[in-house]
């Protein structure tokens, strides 16, 4: 590589790095100054937010920065002493510059399609995390005041995951931990006193069942053997004793008292519930067990069965009490969207937690219906690709014909729905834009069409290519050949030219918008159907070809004079 090419590369790379560092530093200072002192309480989050915003801002100004680098290099830097040592052809400048331009365009492409949207998302995530931290601390203070130490610890787990150095949080955590230890100690002492005689090992369910069987208390035996059987389903001995107890209990039917009749009913209902549980009819099992437990709150096995059923149901359903646990978290409010069934859904607030979402105050309205018929629900949860809504406190199976009313199937994941009015356009990567644009539009998002968006982005890339080459060539033609410019002029140039370049960049993109706008008239009056993206690329390519020719037709001083002794 000859010295001119090496110097060209050096100047362009150093200018690029200097410009980028300058941009980041400027944005960092700007955002640091703009951020309110109290807006983000966690220091590490504040710094991360400022830096992310600075990086995102710098990347979005990368296209005009690259154009500016070409202007300043060709009009000024390439006239400095390293380029005056020996004669050279313009090609020695053009080839490395061209290669660098392509490299910069690749970086800008990645930045426009991937980095900037991801940074936008990161910025939003940091802001949301900060809100969670603030809400967690406030909630923990409230709970601590009420003496609810267990929930204080749970809440502070959220906070300490974000900021483990906060003194107030640490103090609250230690206090809650001490409080909880004291409470547990008192409970243990209490249990020790009340259960002093039973220090020896408790017999197993089977042993207790057998004991009752031997005493001919068959109903009590059944009570224990059911538990033993549910724990050891393959144990033949338990199975056999259980069946024998059931038969014996049945044989006693003729002699039962009123109390025993009730016990018999309990056993029958429990039997039905167990069959429902075995056959996977969890809603029926839940209905029976929860009603039995209300009548017999002291029967431990009912609580255990109910817990088993609830565990199964939680896979397909939810309890509204679950929503209460997370209600203190910062919500997204006032969401409106259309779902796959054609309902317009409005939601008062949504709380994202982990990979799920909790919905509060849901109203569904069928847009195409003549009558204003609405479905309202207090609670909703994102489960298995749909939002399940309900008003009832417990688990209740939705009738098949009403399934459409109580299951919302949105076109997109709720994470996108939350951002409807919050600039989602800037936070979608190329892949998401291509795969989700249509679904987002069908959800009612005012989002640019896929091809229009792509054409606009392509316009940015072409603007960098065309303006860099044109202004680079123009700057070379109008370069300072007589003397080094005065300091005052250099300062004015350094201050004004970035704005001029930015203005030209905006004007080119405005022109590209005009091309996109003209598409509708072009296809109506000139051609038939043609893809908008192809149309935009074609026009920009023609301009690009002319600009490339203009750039390549520039000459070095030696070429202009006609001397060719540089080879």
């Amino acid at each position: 590589m000859d010295s001119v090419k090496r110097s060209t590369l050096t100047f362009i790379v150093i200018s690029f790095l200097a410009a980028f560092v300058l941009l980041i530093a400027s944005f960092y200072i700007y955002h640091s100054g703009r951020m309110d002192a109290g807006s983000i309480s966690v220091g590490s989050l504040k710094n991360a937010l400022i830096f992310t915003r600075a990086l995102s801002g710098s990347l979005s100004l990368l296209p005009p920065a690259v154009i500016f680098i070409f202007v300043i290099c060709f009009s000024l830097f390439f006239t400095l002493s390293p380029f005056r040592k020996k004669p050279f052809p313009f090609n020695s400048l053009a080839a490395p510059s061209f290669a660098m331009l392509i490299f910069f365009i690749i970086i800008i492409t990645l930045s426009e399609f991937i980095f900037i949207p991801l940074l936008g998302r990161r910025t939003q995530a940091i802001s949301h995390t900060s809100l969670i931290a603030d809400a967690a601390l406030v909630h923990a203070r409230e709970l601590y005041g009420k003496g609810d130490h267990e929930n204080v610890l749970k809440t502070l787990d959220f906070y300490l995951e974000i900021d483990e150095k906060n003194r107030e949080a640490q103090k609250l955590y230690t206090g809650a931990l001490d409080g909880l230890s004291l409470k547990r100690l008192a409970e243990t002492e209490e249990a020790f006193k009340s259960d002093e005689g039973s220090l020896q090992e408790r017999p197993s369910f089977y042993e207790r069942g057998r004991e009752e069987y031997e005493k001919e208390n068959y109903y009590a035996a059944l009570f224990y053997l059911e538990r033993a059987r549910s724990l050891h389903r393959d144990n033949e001995e338990i199975g056999e004793l259980y069946e024998r107890s059931r038969r014996k209990a049945h044989d006693q039917l003729g002699e039962i008292t009123e109390k025993e009749r009730e016990t018999k009913l309990l056993i029958e209902q429990k039997q039905r519930a167990l069959i429902a549980l075995d056959s996977g009819d969890f809603y029926e099992a839940y209905r029976i067990f929860s009603s039995l437990r209300q009548r017999y709150p002291n029967l431990d096995d009912l609580s255990l069965y109910l817990a088993t059923v609830e565990e199964k149901l939680m896979e397909v359903d939810f309890l509204p009490s679950e929503l209460g646990e997370y209600e203190w978290l910062p919500p997204a409010s006032d969401i409106v969207f259309i779902d796959k069934s054609g309902f317009v859904n409005t939601i008062e607030k949504v709380i994202p937690y982990g990979k799920t979402f909790y919905f509060y105050g849901i109203t569904r309205y069928r847009a195409e219906s003549e009558k204003d018929k609405r479905v309202r629900a207090k609670y909703g949860k994102w489960m298995n690709g749909r939002i399940l809504i309900k008003n009832a406190e417990g688990f209740k199976e939705v009738p098949e014909d009403e399934g459409e009313l109580y299951n919302i199937y949105p076109f997109v994941n709720p994470v996108y729905l939350l951002q409807m009015d919050r600039g989602i356009e800037n936070r979608l990567t190329l892949y998401e834009r291509i795969s989700l644009s249509e679904q987002l539009q069908r959800s009612g998002f005012d989002i640019e069409k896929r091809l229009e968006w792509l054409s606009r982005k392509i316009g940015i890339l072409f603007s960098v290519y065309i303006l860099s080459l044109f202004l680079g060539g123009f700057g070379w033609k109008r370069r300072s050949t007589y003397e080094f410019p005065s300091v005052i002029k250099l300062v004015i140039f350094a201050v004004v030219s970035p704005f001029v370049v930015y203005l030209l960049f905006l004007l080119y993109n405005g022109t590209n918008d005009v091309f996109i706008y003209s598409y509708q008239y072009f296809t109506r009056f000139v051609t038939g159907k043609i893809n908008l993206l192809v149309y935009t690329i074609l026009i920009n390519s023609v301009i690009g070809i002319f600009t490339t020719l203009y750039f390549l037709s520039r000459k070095s001083s030696e070429e202009e004079r006609g001397t060719k002794d540089y080879s």
Partner: protein, 341 residues
Amino acid sequence: MKFIIRTTLRIIILTLLFTVPIGLFITALMLAGRDVPLWNIGIRNILIVSKNLLVPIVSASYLFSTLFAVALVDRMKIRSIVLLHIPPLVAGALIAAVLAFTGLIDIFDTSGAIDRNTAVGYRTFLKKDVFNRADGSMIRVSGDVPARSSLLLYEKGSNTLIPMNNISLSKSVKIDRAKRLLLISYEGETIRYSKGFPFSVFVKKSPLTSGRLVGFYTKHMRLLLRTVRSQYINLTGRDRMLFGGFLFLSVLLFSISLTNAMNARGWRLFGIVAVFLILFLLPLFYRAIFRIIDTAGGNPEFLGRYSYLFPAITAGVCGIIIDILAKVFGPGRAPSEYGKF
């Protein structure tokens, strides 16, 4: 003579070339100022607005072309600075003559340029089948038959959804741009309107037509035009022509002198970059002159009944001073190519 003819021709050609982009820019800026999204109105409307703004567009294009042409002139080849002012005057006179013969509108009468004959309706602001964002509300228009469309109004905060079915959009949805209201009439007497409906939310934000710097510039431009217009209206007959003519000449004199002074010896790109700076500073400079004169107690009386020419003369004198300074401190001859490097 050859220099004068060549430069005049260059200015006229550049004026014609720049008229389209500058026209689009000014039209977009004016429409954005009135919260009308350029991309949502038909090309016919854009052309109507551009035609109504033709004089300001041609003037801006002429001024830009003049400065651009002056910046492109090799300063080493200028024999006399006075000579440099002649081609812009000739080109300006020719363009003004063409405008005058075509009987175009008064230069300062752009007040109704957008509203006149511009069909702006609900379609300009409401995109179909999507929830159009508006402060405090979201509006969705749907339906294939305009006479039987559906409109959904979602009011945030109260989480209220107001459906309006089978309505004629052209009859039910009215835009009151002056009061910045969107009026929706439904079921006879019910009229809903947004409180201070912010049209700006419908306008696609562009750094070209919004932003602090653009706001600062357009504000001062507007205030300057208001000042000039009020002084122009207070005059009558020949005085109006004199006022306009002097002002026009002073703008040329000052800006050309400054462009020439900024035109670097061999570094002509600096001269071109400086054109943008001069164009940015020009309205601020004139506004400063008018404000200083106003603060000092108005136009002096030594000019008699022609005291209204004082601001223009002041700007012109500034231009002459710049010319003299450029002549005294400017380059005498071209130094050798590798002089100071």
